[in-house]
Amino acid sequence: MKKAILTMMTTAFFCFGLMGHARAMDGPGGVDIHGFIAQGFLISSEYNYLSHKSTDGSFEYNEMGINFSKDLTDKLRLGIQFFARDIGDAANNKVTLDWAYGDYRWRDWLGIRAGRIKLPLGLYNETRDYDFLRTSIVLPQCNYSDMLRDTLLAANGLSLYGNAIPLFGAGDLDYQVVMGALYADLDSGIEKYSNSALQGAGEIAGAVVYDTLYVGKIRWNTPLSGLALTADILKVRGKVPMLLLGNSVTMDSDIQHIRSGIEFTWEDLVLVFEYNYLDAENTTTLDANQMMLGEPAKLESETYYWGASYRFTDWFEVGAYYGVNYPDKNDKDGNDQPALGQPKHNAWQKDIALSLRFDIVQGWIFKLEGHKVNGTAEVLSVDNPDKSEEDWYYGAAKLTFSF
């Protein structure tokens, strides 16, 4: 079935690309069909980043998706999207259900969705699959880790939402609440990411399920034209089976993730800022006797980035951002890192990115991007046993077709 979907996706893109179409395809029964396919290239100095072989240059960086949707009535809408991507030795073009839900919009201020729903985290989580909607190739990894992309992308559950709720002269408000469960696909990157964080002391040993998830998000469209402020909170609780120093253990994880964002658009200029704060409490117990291993481990992380993009012409756009990640906000100077066998600069990662976007013809986009990075906090140990270099670089190129 999945091979059939992958074949269908590839064939659809090939045909659409040859025909030069960049608009929706009308399927049988009035079903709207849209899709995209992108092939990227990654190259880096010093460290293998995103792809496990990026220092040699890697084409294992692609994504594709196709969606089908239909308005059954003025208020009821159904849709589904399949997605596949490759990022180094993770994901490997496995076809996944990106989103699939029914949407009943009772009033503009209250609608309900049920199914697999994208999580409205930050400014870009819902649209992170679609690089044709932004200037950069790689989103700021401090806030949008590509290794955790699939895990944090969507949940199975219910959502309530409303739009354009008037604030009596103070602009209007959009909101969304999601309640559900989150199932992490170990092949998608989370296993690799988690095993790196464990630094050889252990590894993920089975399915990771977060059975309780809540997300609340508001977006205030202020009366100042072009200025929007967002805030969201994610609360999630789940179990992570692990092998720790040869013992089977279960980590009960309780995570709270708070984000705030500012987006300001003035004609062709877009400015953004996002701040993230993560607070996690992990309790680990031995499976054999349910004995708790030490006190619950607490972790606080802080990340933020500034970004700007400007569209000079119909076909050319430039963007830049500066992102900062402190995985442990109580160790910003890295003083605790040597005791963990890591250099001090493993306590942070600061990334300056410059992106060029060329809209070649309708539907086709080519991008080039360069990054200057200080620190190794997001460099995965499993692909980079030696993290002694503090400063390093990486670049990316990507060609995308969408319709």
Binding site: N67, D103, Y130, A170, L224, I262
Partner: protein, 145 residues
């Protein structure tokens, strides 16, 4: 550093509260038109914007709103700039975001103003826009406040 971040956020919030610049609501070279069955004769700039961003889907009488846009041209660009505060590219990306997240569909897109008047005059609950010199006898014009 964290204090600086929160000072920045606070400044942005204060700017948002203290500088409620009115939405530009002058007609300029563009006229907003609607089907004659539509009971509303005027809309606020905010309401008009939310209609064309697919956030407002019902008229005050309860009927469904069917909005349409022009594919391109001076009237299209002027309308987006004056009322939606977006460039054509930003407007297209906004709808592609809705489409690719399953939250909406592409707007009805018409190739010229003659076609726009024809669509609006023949579709219940329809709203669109044309340049000011266009014959609008078959539709009603909406006053944007």
């Amino acid at each position: 550093m964290k204090n600086k971040i929160w000072i920045g956020v606070l400044i942005a919030i204060l700017v948002g509260i203290l500088c409620p610049l009115p939405q530009i609501a002058w007609a300029g070279d563009v006229v907003v038109i609607a089907n004659k069955s539509v009971s509303d004769s005027s809309l606020s700039g905010e309401e008009l914007k939310n209609i064309f961003l697919a956030k407002k889907s019902q008229w005050s009488s309860g009927g469904s709103i069917n909005f349409a846009i022009l594919k391109q041209g001076a009237a299209h660009e002027a309308f987006l700039k004056q009322y939606i505060q977006k460039t054509p590219d930003q407007f297209e990306r906004y709808f592609r975001k809705l489409i690719f997240t399953g939250k909406g569909k592409a707007p009805t897109t018409l190739s010229d103003e003659k076609e726009m008047v024809s669509y609006v005059s023949s579709t219940a609950g329809a709203i669109g826009y044309v340049s000011s010199g266009t014959d609008t006898n078959a539709v009603k014009t909406i006053n944007v406040q």
